[in-house]
Amino acid sequence: MSVETTTESAPVPKKGMNILFGLILLGLLLLLWLLLGIFTNSFWTPNNISNLLRQGAMTAILAVGQTFVIITAGIDLSVGAVVGFSSVTIAWLLQAGVPLWPAMALTLLVGVAIGAFHAFGIVRMGLPAFIITLATLTSLRGIGLLITNGSTISISNDGFTDFSRADFLGVPSLFWMVLVVAVPAYIFLHLSRWGRYLFAVGSNSEAARLSGVNVNRTIYLAYILSSTCAAFVGLLLASRIGIGNATQAEGWELQAIASSVIGGTSLFGAVGSVHGPLIGAFILATINNGANLLNVNSFWQRIITGALIIIIVYVDQLRRRGSR
């Protein structure tokens, strides 16, 4: 009796496909770099590469946090606003004379609190993730503007602002921060039971609950991680621009979601990785950077990003359908 025929749709094991998809993304990124190296003189200059790594780093960290939420079949629209709000928080704390390290810790704690609030709204108040995070998106910008009275707070702490310009082993320190986030994120999502729970909740929260998974705690965890990543990016951004301003990082939530989706995360939940969004973020950063170098109207960058999302998600759909 042949055994395989009994799985009626004869599926192909997924692991090889996922590695393939990751390699295709990486190939796309390298191809972009190669093409930009050929068609521009300034792409492969140390200055430009550093710039690219710095810009991509912040999107990448946001995208990793966002991915945790999307895997649970949720969405976090607030991350851009959290970045802006965190830049205000750290600037305000430093201005008030709080020492640097406690100020940074407090800023991250504000991120934790915002994430906990999102999860509270979802779990206890029964609000859709889309709504509660949309609400904080606009409210946080408002609170930030109230604190700063609509202007900016400049940061005079040189140690803090020098960090973003510093290099370590010839690589921008901001890029090292990606690794600081990505390595624990990888362990969390792919190697720990909490990662498995995120996938299970995103796939079928009732089945997860009946299997003993604490669904509410898992949702808290996902949103707290996303907001904390965003607060961390807020610190990096404040260090980079030397000011706190609530209107910074406008639209970064879409960059983060786009990076995540380009990296293979399914907006329906239960599909995603840590490495995918990282590559996705650098693909987006490369497109923006390349468009600048090629003197393409910056409005085109937005159009290209949109088109890229459609193409990659469509290809991914075909891949899933094909393997069924």
Binding site: E4, T7, S9, A10, R196, S203, N204, S211
Partner: protein
């Protein structure tokens, strides 16, 4: 003649094939997925106006055949003749336009629309570009009344039971001038009365000249309804028999290629000590339930769908809050506030709906199996990958889950194998009390027998089982004690075979 007839006349272009003549012929129809032959070249002829049953174990190729006939997938080779003409059946639209339709086991309708809106979905009555809501509701009501379904056409579909939704789906297909209607395990979720209504409808459609293909695991339904029966096994069409010239023993042996002397293994084991006892347990959907389970016994809960059995199970498992009553676990009073607490005590629940409650369908089999025990598989911060793989592979081989690897998604498995994944999950975790809620719905005969043998094994190991089933022969033969539920209350209790089928059924219906 009747409302149904009037409306079907709107769509039916008449029957070009005389009753008893071939209406649909499959010649060497084959489907391959890569190297795997899901359906080996099959020659089956369906005669106009017959009820043609198709039986086979899970994975025998029934689903593949339905998908081919309804245009959901395309064949690899072979030909299909519809009314004598070669046809492609390349898309669902083509199949429907030729009059081929299917009613699926899981209802695929819009839950937030009314019954009438669902029946007319995609084919709405219009006047000047606007929908004629009132006319559609009235027309739908006429059809429903005429079919003897006691359903309001203006009700929201989500307010109906699954069984009632199934009837709506059938009525919908019936009024679209369907000439060839495929039923895929239609009675899986139906109560006995609903099944009877459905059978009346099927016979009536047959009288009007509709050809019926009826797929079922339930032999008694096949013998009650069908004119002819075809058997599939491992993607092969084993044969077709006139119903009068065969019997269930022959069909089962054709299906599984090995004789099952008896599907039911009732072994009376010595009854051990008390595992759980409920006293006056009440909660949403059940009231004042007092029962107990001892080691080595199966306690059956029988009743119609919605009688409160599943709700009681969820209450005992900590999923639903309790409003009154006490639970004693091995003699000690306990409160079970959440699912984890129930699991820690030693309760396992294989829930009613595999799709909604049992499985994370778009995740791998291995993850599903290990889901309750990831805390145990964790050492330090991370999961011990080797033990994770070992446990998944152990359950897959112990339970004979038919998959090439643990990485296959649960959604790709057939009903019986999905049920085995749910069971594997709880065998990984281990428990003293296993609650199985409708464990054999949509499961083939061979897997059923395996599940029953598994029950015996669990009992031998000192566990107790609560078996919830709407299939009376099953719960009747397996249970040491049988409790009958009706409208949230426990209305009768019997020891093994101390009451007749008729008595039990009467108590469940409450006539």
């Amino acid at each position: 003649m009747t409302g149904l007839h009037d409306i079907s006349q709107l769509h039916t272009a008449g029957h070009p094939v005389a009753k008893g003549q071939p209406i649909l012929e499959l010649r060497g129809l084959q489907k391959k997925y890569g190297a795997v032959e899901a359906l080996k070249p099959a020659n089956i002829t369906f005669l106009s106006g017959e009820i043609h049953a198709i039986v086979g174990e899970n994975g025998a190729g029934k689903s593949t055949l339905i998908k081919l006939l309804t245009g959901v997938i395309r064949r690899t080779s072979g030909e299909v003749y519809w009314c004598g003409q070669s046809v492609q059946l390349a898309t669902p639209t083509e199949a429907i336009s030729r009059g081929i339709n299917a009613v699926h086991q899981e209802v695929v309708l819009c839950r937030h629309l009314t019954v009438a809106a669902n029946m007319f979905l995609g084919d709405e009555m219009q006047a000047k570009g606007l929908m004629r809501q009132r006319a559609m509701t009235d027309a739908a009501q006429v059809v429903l009344n005429d079919l003897g379904f006691n359903l309001p056409a203006a009700a929201l579909l989500s307010d109906l039971t699954i069984g009632q939704q199934q009837l709506v789906a059938t009525a919908r297909a019936a009024m679209r001038g369907t000439q060839f209607l495929i039923f895929d395990e239609p009675t899986a979720y139906l109560t006995r009365q609903e099944s009877a209504q459905l059978f009346r409808l099927i016979r009536r459609l047959q009288n009007e000249g509709v050809t019926i293909v009826y797929i079922s695991h339930r032999m008694e339904e096949v013998f009650e309804l069908a004119d002819r029966v075809s058997v599939l096994r491992d993607g092969t069409h084993v044969g077709t028999r006139l119903i009068g010239e065969t019997n269930d023993a022959e069909l089962i042996s054709m299906m599984i290629n090995r004789t099952i002397e008896q599907i039911y293994h009732k072994e009376h084991l010595p009854i051990g000590e008390m595992i759980v006892e409920t006293r006056g347990l009440s909660g949403p959907g059940f009231e004042n339930i007092s029962l107990s389970v001892k080691a080595g016994e199966i306690v059956g809960l029988y009743g119609l769908i919605g009688a409160g059995r599943s709700e009681f199970a969820l209450g005992l498992y900590g999923r639903q809050p309790l409003s009154a009553g006490e639970i004693f676990w091995q003699g000690n009073k306990v409160t079970i506030g959440n699912e984890r607490k129930a699991m820690d005590l030693g309760i396992a629940l294989a829930p009613e709906s595999r799709r909604d409650q049992g499985l994370c369908l778009n995740l791998p089999i291995g993850l599903n199996i290990n889901l309750p025990i990831f805390d145990r598989l964790t050492s330090g911060l991370t999961i011990n990958r080797r033990r994770e793989i070992e446990n998944a592979d152990k359950q897959i081989s112990d339970l004979k889950i038919k998959t090439p690897t643990r990485r296959v998604l649960a959604s790709a498995m057939s009903g019986g194998n999905q049920q085995k994944i749910v069971i594997g999950k709880w065998l990984s975790h281990g428990a003293k009390l296993f609650i199985f809620d409708e464990p054999t719905v949509g499961v083939d005969v061979g897997t059923k027998a395996e599940i029953y043998r598994l029950f015996a094994r669990l009992l031998e190991q000192g566990a107790g089982i609560i078996l919830i089933s709407s299939y009376l022969p099953e719960v009747y033969e397996l249970s040491d004690r049988l409790h009958v539920f009706r409208q949230g209350k426990l209305v009768a209790s019997h020891t093994y075979r101390s009451a007749s089928h008729e008595e039990v059924l009467t108590q469940a219906i409450g006539v």
